[in-house]
Amino acid sequence: MSLAFDDYGRPYIILRDQGQKKRMKGLEAYKSNILAAKAVANTLSSSLGPKGMDKMLVSPDGDVSVTNDGATIVEKMEIQHPTAKLLVELSQSQDAEIGDGTTGVVVLAGKLLEQALTLLDKGIHPLKISDGFDRACDVAIKHLETISEEIDIQANEHEALIQAACTALGSKVVSKRKRELGKIAVTAVLDVADLARRDVNLDLIKIQTKTGGSVEDTRLISGILIDKDMSHPQMPKEVKEAKICLLTCPFEPPKPKTKHNINISSAEDYKKLYLQEQQYFVDMVKLVKDSGANIALCQWGFDDEANHLLLQNELPAVRWVSGTDVELIAMATGARIIPRFQEITPEKLGKAGSVKEVQFGTSNERMLVIENCQCTKAVTILIRGGSQMIVDEAKRSIHDAICVIRNLIKDNRIVYGGGSAELACAIQVLQYADEVSSVEQYAIRSFADALEGIPNCLADNCGLNPITSVAQAKSRQLQENNPRIGIDCMELGTTDMKEQRIYETLSSKKQQIQLATQVVKMILKIDDVIAPDDY
C-alpha cells in the first residue's frame, strides 16, 4: 500500500500489517478485476454448445472428473482470485435456480466484461456503463418475452418436453443417446410432478449410478433402488406382493440410553441372561411376522444370530438401509416408519408389487429394486456406463435435463436455442441504443455486441466461420423478421431453430441475462481492491 510520511520522515502505520497489503485503485483495479473474470469465462467458452468440449479436472486427491457442465468445472477449478470467484458463484446460482445454462451465463458475463473494458478505455465512467447495461438488459428481457412461445407440454406424448431435454443433453458426452435419456428424464419428472400446482420436488427422483454396461442400459425404475442386498444369502431373492415393515430400531435386545453395565456373578445368571436375550429375538421376529409383513427393512444392523433366526422364520430382511432411503421407501409404499417393535401394526406396513434383488454383470454386487409401489411418488433413474467418469458426467447431464423439464412444467414458455434468441435480443437492443441520447448509448450498443458473442462462440466451437455465419443469421433474422434463425451447429441444413427443434426455456434464458448483467454491474462498481499481498 502507498505509504504516508510524517514531518520527520517516519512512515505511518495506519493499517495492520500495512506492508503486506496490496491496494489497487481506479482504472488499475477495474482492469485487473475484468481480466481475472475474463480468464474464467475464456476457460468455459469452449464448452458451450452441442460441439463444446469437455474439461478434465484433477482434484487434490487425484480424483479425475471429466465434465462439460459449467457449474461443475468452475467449482472444481478451485479459483482463488476474489473477482473470479464471483463468476463461480454466478454459475452456481444459475445451477441452483435453473439447473441448466451454467456455461452460457459465465460466457455472457465474460463477453460483457470484454465490452466494458473497451468502453473504459474510451474514458466512460464505469457507472454509466453499468447503467447502460442495465437498461439494455431490461430491453432484452422484454424482447425475450415477446418472442417466446407457449408450448403444449401434454401434446403428442410430451414431445415438446422430450425435445427440450434433448437440447439440454445435446452438448454432453451422452448426446448420442439423448433421445432415450430425454424420454427417461421426462417420464421420471412427470411421475413425481404435481401438475396442478406446477411443482416438482426433485428430491423424489433418485439418481443412482453403477459402473458397468453402457449408457444404453440406463433405465427408469418406477420405484426405488437401494444399494443393499438381503441380509442372508439364502433368503428369497424376490418377494411378490410385498408388505414392508420399515424399522428404525435394531434387531437386538433393547438398551437403555442411561449408562449401564451388567454384572453376572453365577453360571445360572448367565444362562438366564442368555435365555432372556433369545426370548427377545423370538418376540421381535414374532411381532413382525404377526403383523403380516413379509419383508423387513431395518435402518440399523442385526447380528448373525438374529439373521439366522429371521431366515428360519422365513422373514427376508435388509439391514443398514440409509435414513434417506427409508424416507423415500416410506413415501413410495405408504409405509409408516416404526421406531419400536411393540408398535408394529398391520396398518403401518407399506405395500409394493415386488421387492427384487438384481445382480449386475459378473460382479458380485447386488441391489434391491422395490417396484410397483402403492403410491408411486418416488422414482429412480439407474445410470450405467463404461467408467466412473462417464457415469458421473451422465448423472450431471440427466440432472440438467430434469431441471429443464421441471422449469417447463412451471412455466411452459420457450425460446429457440442455437443462439437465435440472443441474436434477436441483440438486434432489438441495437435498435433501442439509437434512441438513447446520453453516454449510455455506447454501453447499450456494447451490450448488443456482447449478446452476439454467444452465437459467435457457438459457431466457433462447431468449427464454422463465426463471423460469416453470425452475419448471415443476423441479416436473415432482419430480412425475414424471424427471430428463430440461429447457428446451424449440427449442420442439418437449416438455420431455423424451430425446424431443428432446439428448445430452451424462457426462464433459463431470462435468468442467464439477468444474472450475468447483475454480476458485471457489481464488478464494474469496484474501484478499490485491498488484499493481502501474496499474488
Binding site: R16, E97, I337
Partner: protein, 553 residues
C-alpha cells in the same frame, strides 16, 4: 530537546514511542486524511464499491462503516474515525461515509491554523461555536412533512429509503426495494420499532427483483430426520407450539447409576425411558398443536411420531427466528411440556414450506399480531446479496428514523451548502480569530457536494461555483440546490427531485464529525507502549513503523 547535560531520567519502558507537540497534531491530521481518502470515492449516487479481502473472505461494500471496520486501522488517531463511523452506524444507520469525510475535512482545514501557531483550543472553540450555529440553523431549515394522511406519510418514507439506496448496488431497483423496506417497517410496532424483528434471509440465485417480503417469519428448513417428508407441509390457521426442549430418546441424567437384580427389571428400565419421551409427545399432541418448533433437536422418533399424527415439526430452529415466530404468532416458548396449555400456542394465517432457489423455506404468513416481517433477498452471487443486505439495513434504519422524527432536509449536498453559506455570512459579523475558523468550518462543509460531483465524474469546480451562486442569491428557491448527477447543468433543486434525508442523520453527522475533529485536535502527545514480547515474536519486525522489507513472499 536539550537535556544534554542533565542525567537522563527514564520515565517510560524501553522502546516506548512518544511524540508530542504541534508536530504530533499535524501528524495525526495527516493520518486521518489517509484513511478518509479510502472511503472518499464511495460517497454519493455515483460512489464506487471497495473490495476488501481478509483471509479467505471477500467483502464488496459501499458502506463507510463496513469498509473502515474491515481495513483494520491501527493508527491511534485514525481509529477515532472508525469509531465515529461506527457510532453513526449504530445511531442512525446511514451517512457513515459523509461523517468520516466531514471529520477529515474539518481537520484538513484546521491544519494551516495549527502550523501557523494558533492554539488548538482556539480552533476547537471556533468549531464548537460553528457547530452550534449550524445545528440551530439545520433545525430551522428542515421541513416538516405533513403526515395527515397515511398515504403522504408513506410517500415520505419511500423517498427517504430511495435516497439511502441511491449510492448502493441496488440503485437501479430502488423503487422496488424502498417499497419492500417501508412495508417491512410498517409491520413493526410503531412505538418500539425493534430492528431485530425484521429478518433478512439470503438465498443465492434468481434476480434481485425476485426478492420478496413475507409478512411474518421465514426461515430455512432445518435439519430433518427420516419421516419428515411424510409430514404435512401446509396449514391454515395452525396452532403453533414453541419449545425449548429436546425431543429425543436419551438418558435423562448423565452419570446416573441404576442397580437391578432381575432380568425382568431390565425391560422395565427400557420401557421407562420410552415412556418418558412418549409422554412428552403425547402431551403435545393432546394439546392440539399442529406445528411444533424447538430450539433444540427433535429426534427421528419424534419426527415419525408427529408424521403419523399429521403434525409438522422442526428442530434446531435458530434462536432469533424462534423469537420472531414468537412475536409474530403470539405464542410463548415453553421449556417443558408439563402443564402445556393451548393458550401458549401461537397461530398464523398460513403456514407453508416452499422452494426458494435451491433451498426449502418455512413461511409463516398473515400472522395476527404481525409485529415482524422478513425480507427474502435473492441475487446472483453471495457477495452481491451480502452487500444488498447491508444496503437494505441502511434503508431500514433510515425509514425507522423517519418514522419517528418527521423532519427532513434535501440531500445531494444542498443542506451542507446552505449551512456553509449561512456560516460564511455569520463569520463576517464576528471579530477575532474565530472569524477565520468559522469560515474554515463553512469551507469544510462543502466537501460533501464537492465529492459527490467528483465521484460522478463532473467538473467539481464549475459545479461548486454554480451552487454557491445559487445559494448566495438566497431566498427560498435557492436553498435546496444540490448536485444533480443526471442533468446536463449538474445542479438542481434536490428537494423537488425528492432526494430527501431525515434531518436527524445530518444532525448526528455534524455532531460526531465535529466532536471527532475536536478530539484529534486536542491530542498533543501520544505514548505508545512497545508491543508485548509474544506479539513481537509472532510478527518479527525490524523497528516499529518500518515495513518489513525482506518479507515479501
Amino acid at each position: 530537546m536539550s537535556q544534554f547535560l542533565q542525567p537522563t531520567i527514564l520515565l517510560l519502558r524501553e522502546g516506548t514511542d512518544t511524540s508530542q507537540g504541534r508536530a504530533q497534531i499535524v501528524s495525526n491530521i495527516n493520518a486521518v486524511q489517509a484513511v478518509a481518502d479510502v472511503v472518499k470515492s464511495t460517497l454519493g449516487p455515483r460512489g464506487m464499491d471497495k473490495m476488501i479481502q481478509t483471509g479467505p473472505k471477500v467483502t464488496i461494500s459501499n458502506d463507510g462503516a463496513t469498509i473502515l471496520n474491515l481495513l483494520e486501522v491501527v493508527h491511534p488517531a485514525a481509529r477515532v474515525l472508525v469509531d465515529i463511523a461506527k457510532s453513526q452506524d449504530d445511531e442512525v444507520g446511514d451517512g457513515t461515509t459523509s461523517t468520516t469525510l466531514l471529520a477529515a475535512e474539518l481537520l484538513k482545514e484546521a491544519k494551516p491554523f495549527i502550523e501557523e501557531g494558533i492554539h488548538p483550543q482556539i480552533v476547537i472553540q471556533g468549531y464548537r461555536k460553528a457547530l452550534e450555529l449550524a445545528l440551530e440553523k439545520l433545525e430551522g431549515f428542515s421541513i416538516n412533512i405533513s403526515r395527515d394522511s397515511p398515504q403522504e406519510k408513506r410517500d415520505t418514507l419511500l423517498k427517504c429509503a430511495q435516497t439511502a439506496l441511491n449510492s448502493k448496488l441496488l440503485a437501479n431497483t430502488k423503487q422496488f426495494f424502498s417499497e419492500l423496506v417501508v412495508s417491512a417497517v410498517e409491520k413493526l410496532d410503531p412505538n418500539i420499532l425493534d430492528r431485530d424483528l425484521i429478518g433478512i434471509k439470503n438465498v443465492t440465485g434468481g434476480s434481485v427483483t425476485d426478492s420478496f417480503l413475507v409478512d411474518g417469519v421465514a426461515f430455512k428448513k432445518t435439519f430433518s430426520y427420516a419421516g419428515f417428508e411424510q409430514q404435512p407441509k401446509r396449514f391454515e390457521n395452525p396452532k403453533i407450539c414453541l419449545l425449548n426442549l429436546e425431543l429425543e430418546l436419551k438418558s435423562e441424567k448423565e452419570n446416573a447409576e441404576i442397580r437391578i437384580e432381575k432380568p425382568e427389571e431390565y425391560q422395565q428400565i427400557v420401557d421407562a425411558e420410552w415412556a418418558l419421551i412418549y409422554e412428552k409427545l403425547e402431551i403435545i399432541v393432546k394439546a392440539g398443536a399442529q406445528i411444533v418448533l424447538s430450539k433444540l433437536p427433535i429426534g427421528d422418533l419424534a419426527t415419525q411420531y408427529f408424521a403419523d399424527r399429521n403434525i409438522f415439526c422442526a428442530g434446531r430452529v435458530p434462536q432469533e427466528d424462534l423469537l420472531r415466530v414468537q412475536k409474530a404468532t403470539g405464542g410463548q416458548v415453553q421449556t417443558t411440556v408439563n402443564g402445556l396449555n393451548p393458550e401458549t400456542f401461537g397461530t398464523c394465517g398460513l403456514f407453508e414450506e416452499v422452494q426458494v432457489g435451491a433451498e426449502r423455506y418455512n413461511l409463516f404468513k398473515n400472522c395476527p399480531q404481525s409485529r415482524t416481517a422478513t425480507i427474502v433477498l435473492r441475487g446472483g452471487a453471495e457477495q452481491f446479496i451480502q452487500e444488498a443486505e447491508r444496503s437494505l439495513n441502511d434503508a431500514i434504519m433510515i425509514v425507522r428514523r423517519c418514522f419517528k422524527a418527521n423532519k427532513i432536509v434535501a440531500g445531494g449536498g444542498a443542506i451542507e451548502l446552505e449551512l456553509s453559506r449561512y456560516l460564511r455570512h455569520y463569520a463576517r459579523s464576528v471579530t477575532g480569530k474565530t472569524q477565520y475558523i468559522v469560515n474554515s468550518y463553512a469551507k469544510a462543509l462543502e466537501v460533501i457536494p464537492r465529492t459527490i460531483a467528483e465521484n460522478a465524474g463532473l467538473n467539481s469546480i464549475e459545479i461548486m461555483n454554480k451552487l454557491r451562486q445559487r445559494h448566495a442569491q438566497g431566498g427560498e428557491e435557492g436553498r435546496w440546490y444540490g448536485v444533480d448527477i443526471n442533468g446536463a447543468s449538474g445542479v438542481c433543486d434536490t428537494h423537488s427531485s425528492f432526494v430527501w434525508e431525515p434531518s436527524l442523520v445530518k444532525r448526528n453527522a455534524l455532531c460526531s464529525a465535529t466532536e471527532a475533529a475536536c478530539a484529534i485536535l486536542s491530542i498533543d502527545e501520544t505514548v505508545k507502549n512497545p508491543k508485548s514480547d509474544q506479539d513481537t515474536k509472532m510478527k518479527p519486525k525490524g523497528q516499529p513503523g518500518r515495513p518489513p522489507m525482506g518479507m515479501r513472499r
